[in-house]
Assembly symmetry: C2
Amino acid sequence: MKIYFAGSIRGGRSDAALYHRLISYLKRNNTVLTEHVGNLDLQEKHGDLEIFRQDTAWLRECDCVIAECTCPSLGVGYELAYAEAQGKACHLFYDRSRTKLSAMLTGNPYFQIHPYQSEEEIYPVLDSILGH
Amino acid sequence: MKIYFAGSIRGGRSDAALYHRLISYLKRNNTVLTEHVGNLDLQEKHGDLEIFRQDTAWLRECDCVIAECTCPSLGVGYELAYAEAQGKACHLFYDRSRTKLSAMLTGNPYFQIHPYQSEEEIYPVLDSILGH
């Protein structure tokens, strides 16, 4: 599967290490188009227009979106609406002890939402989603 | 004009007083469909599905979207993509001394983006947008 992993970049990098672990797990059996989201030393090399064009191209190309939504992010919110419009499967994860997810996501029947309390709960759900 | 004002709710209420001032200004000559976003004592009274249905209905009904984007928010990101898909004019404001806006917004030629350094800069831009 080609996966678009969505996580906060400019909204805050407090969960970057978590993104890195999730992407490493997904990469064992899949292609992660947005591997840079988990880069702990992320340096933005491209202009904003180029980032937008590349990310929207990847959203059209991917088989599904896996979004870690604990850290609020305008970009992730935009990406999820874009993916929905493209009819892509969207799986959203968030730590329910750390945040209350936006009603624009939890109230939208299109999204498959997976609240968790500890990171270990995420991996079997990923296995189930990806058919491992 | 019917205005959809977008600002962070569950992403954080640090700018709620700013939203309140902007909405009060807009209301002098326009209808603000989402006046509750500037409510300093906001109590959520509705379920998430109802919020989602109402907000997307307002996004379809509005003449334009005015978004204060300084505080990262999944909901605002979602709303902006939804409004773009509906062909609504979208004006995004953010305090450039406090945040770097997502490349999914700044790199998207559809959005009209107005960075500011002090709040007073916002009001003449609103006048210009709204034709006062």
